[in-house]
Assembly symmetry: C2
Homo-oligomer: 439 residues x 2
């Protein structure tokens, strides 16, 4: 069989990793795919031309205009590995219009524009592969889209941003501040100069949006996701959580409830005995709860050149086998047949149910706790555990930490407002959500 021809948009971290693996494992990959997978051309920025030529040894055509890759007659599959929304969107849509299959590692693009992209692909009968867009090398898209199709998926909870997991791990292990742990992540290349997308949960919300769409057969609803990052977490909260037997992780959580879909990213207390509570450093892990299979977990490297390249190539191999098959045989992009999607809405975060970690600074005198617990009781919120840290000598305030049982978020919002209004409580109440999970 003639080789299948791939054009790369981008030869940076992911594009470079993809190239490296295809070179090193060329024979083994072809033994699986049934045809050789040839990169015929790539587009890079003008300032990267020299580096790209050195890397590829002059064996492929390099362009600085990515449209020349997309419209190239020597390209069967376009791999969009450049990131960002523009011009990635226009390039992907043009590739589809040209009848080419597309592989993309671009989670922002899919979370924001996926509904349109998949519609265009369906109309044109081409495949969009995006294993690399979520959790790097972990084949979680395949697990959700094909491996768990028997199940009514109940919820997904994942550590899907390695940068923030690295920061949280260092804050816990070394008692470091957020700022110090972030600096170290930047020094090691795990965090970018502008780390907003990683540390504020936006990157995780992109990935979670994609997983929710597959799990529940709903359109991408990134604009409705609740996103809270780790930048306001203190080493003190991490320490208190440990005293209760919990670890704090930045989790992406999506859950199907009778009242709508939960879609939220935030720091979360998890019992330390759970496997996922022990996923540290830059590693990722995703828990999936299905009604038939129970809880399954998928763990691995969530970023990096070769792990992400591994996911890109898995899609290329799938597409190579299916390149000439009728579109009816394709796996639907979001697991559900396109005319079988539901339009379940993502709920506002005020409507979710959760249990909570609350920390407040209280005047150290009798009756303060009674005031606080009365407020919670009146709102129907019951307390699972409480911890009061004795003040240092001469200090008038104590830290009071309470863990609540499950309740509606808007009840906690009300409780916090009332507690903050107490004269005996100083400053804001810190609130961190808790999940018991099940594995």
């Amino acid at each position: 069989m003639t080789p299948i021809r791939v054009g790369l948009l981008g030869l940076g971290v992911v594009g470079g990793g993809t190239w490296t693996i295809l070179e090193r494992n060329r024979e083994e990959i072809a033994r699986r795919a049934g045809r050789e997978i040839h990169v015929t051309c790539a587009a890079v920025r003008p300032q990267d031309l020299e580096k790209a030529a050195a890397k590829t040894g002059g064996r492929i055509t390099l362009y600085t205009d990515p449209m020349q890759v997309v419209q190239n007659p020597e390209v069967d599959i376009v791999a969009e590995l450049m990131g960002g929304i523009h011009p990635a969107l226009e390039l992907v849509l043009e590739a589809i219009a040209q009848g080419k299959h597309v592989v993309t590692a671009n989670k922002a693009l899919l979370a924001l524009q996926g509904n349109d992209i998949f519609k265009a692909a369906r109309t044109r009968g081409v495949m969009i592969g995006f294993e690399a867009a979520v959790a790097g090398g972990i084949p979680i898209i395949k697990a959700l889209r094909e491996g768990l199709t028997a199940n009514r998926i109940e919820w997904i909870a994942g550590i899907i941003n390695g940068t923030s997991n690295f920061i949280l791990t260092n804050m816990r292990d070394r008692g470091e501040s957020f700022a110090s742990a972030l600096s170290q992540a930047q020094a090691l290349g795990y965090a970018e100069a502008d780390p907003t997308f990683d540390i504020e949960g936006i990157d995780a919300a992109h990935k979670l949006t994609i997983m929710a769409a597959i799990a529940f057969g709903i359109p991408m609803q990134f604009e409705r996701a609740y996103t809270e990052g780790i930048s306001r977490l203190t080493a003190q909260d991490i320490q208190y959580a440990q005293e209760f037997g919990y670890r704090i992780k930045l989790l992406g959580i999506t859950r199907r409830t009778p009242r709508g879909i939960e879609l939220r990213v935030h720091p979360t207390l998890i019992p330390e005995k759970r496997l996922i509570a022990n996923v540290d450093g830059v590693m990722n892990a995703v828990l999936v709860k299905g009604d038939a299979v129970g809880t399954t977990l998928y763990y691995g490297a969530g970023a990096g050149a070769e792990p992400t390249g591994s996911a890109v190539i898995a899609d290329l191999v799938d597409m190579t086998r299916m390149a000439s098959a009728e579109p009816g045989h394709h796996v639907p992009h979001l697991s559900f047949q396109h005319d079988q999607m539901h339009d379940d809405q993502v709920m506002p975060v005020s409507e979710i149910e959760s249990s909570y970690y609350l920390r407040m600074s209280a005047v150290d005198r009798p009756g303060v706790l009674a005031e606080v617990t009365r407020i919670l009781a009146d709102l129907g919120i019951s307390i699972e555990a409480m911890l009061q840290r004795e003040p240092p000598a001469g200090e008038q305030r104590v830290d009071v930490i309470m863990l609540t049982h499950s309740t509606l978020e808007r009840h906690i919002d009300q409780a916090i407002a009332q507690i903050e209004a107490l004269q005996s409580i100083a400053g804001p109440v810190t609130r961190i959500r808790m999940e018991s999970l099940s594995a």
Copy 2:
């Protein structure tokens, strides 16, 4: 589209679970598969007819002769969920001859007869799905066969027998003896009256054989697998391992080395910090190391009606989408194209490399340790750690435990023979292999 028609061979644990899920999630599964999946008939033992009729509410035809399902013109896919080699083999081969696709949960059948079954299926152009044969509901076959196709797989290590993991967990948590933990597993229905397949590692070796074939593109070589069970493990060894910071798990390990393929099931010391060391009870987990992706882990329920049914149905959905596709588009049964398999041989266990836990009973007098360490040194085996347990008052013997660095198994065999010949050592030396793994 007309429904795809499935005939079940067996309506026991797995068949019953498959039926239950297909009933409960009929609509959601059809939304994914694009067609309804209808069970049209099933074969059960004569003594189970009444129970089967009650379960299926008289809505399907029940046979006591499974060949009537296999040869039934109203069946597109045969799901072999009865187990055992005969008549399962004949039924599967007849289904293939009839041009029907086959789903099977039968790991023994595939490990022993898979080479012939896949050959027959290829010739006839039908698909064999066997996600349910390994690790129950965990989509590990899909991960290996499709998700990690970019990789040169280096090794796989898995807890793939829930019964023995349950027994080992109870031996550790409660200090129970093997016999007592086994009785409890039997009382809870986790172990069969004849538990040999589970506790002696045979079931795990069946599953490992299948994973090795997919990972390395080699024929099934069950007959060359090394199999050692957990029946001779003592609570004392589990305790000593813990003192060194290790847990003991029954692992199936397969590794590609320049000298051949390792394929072995045995109790294994694992550092307690590893995620897989914390997979307890009946749960399963599989670690896969690929050269590009690094180490990934897959965790979930390895047995049970609905988890296994979940895997059966995932195959049914895949087949439904591909039922009318040309065979060239099928995923090859063992990931590699059939004409691209290699015939790498499984090595005898004496040729593997490992590190080792050694326990011996020594006379408590000076010079004994010098004799033992001299034997090890002469064979080039270096010692990583040593522990000597002081004897109770009046006792003349002490337990000496040594952890070695990596060495050839046959060197350890020699060392053990020489140590056992020492007058100062009483009885046999206990040897347990160790793996550091990497996640």
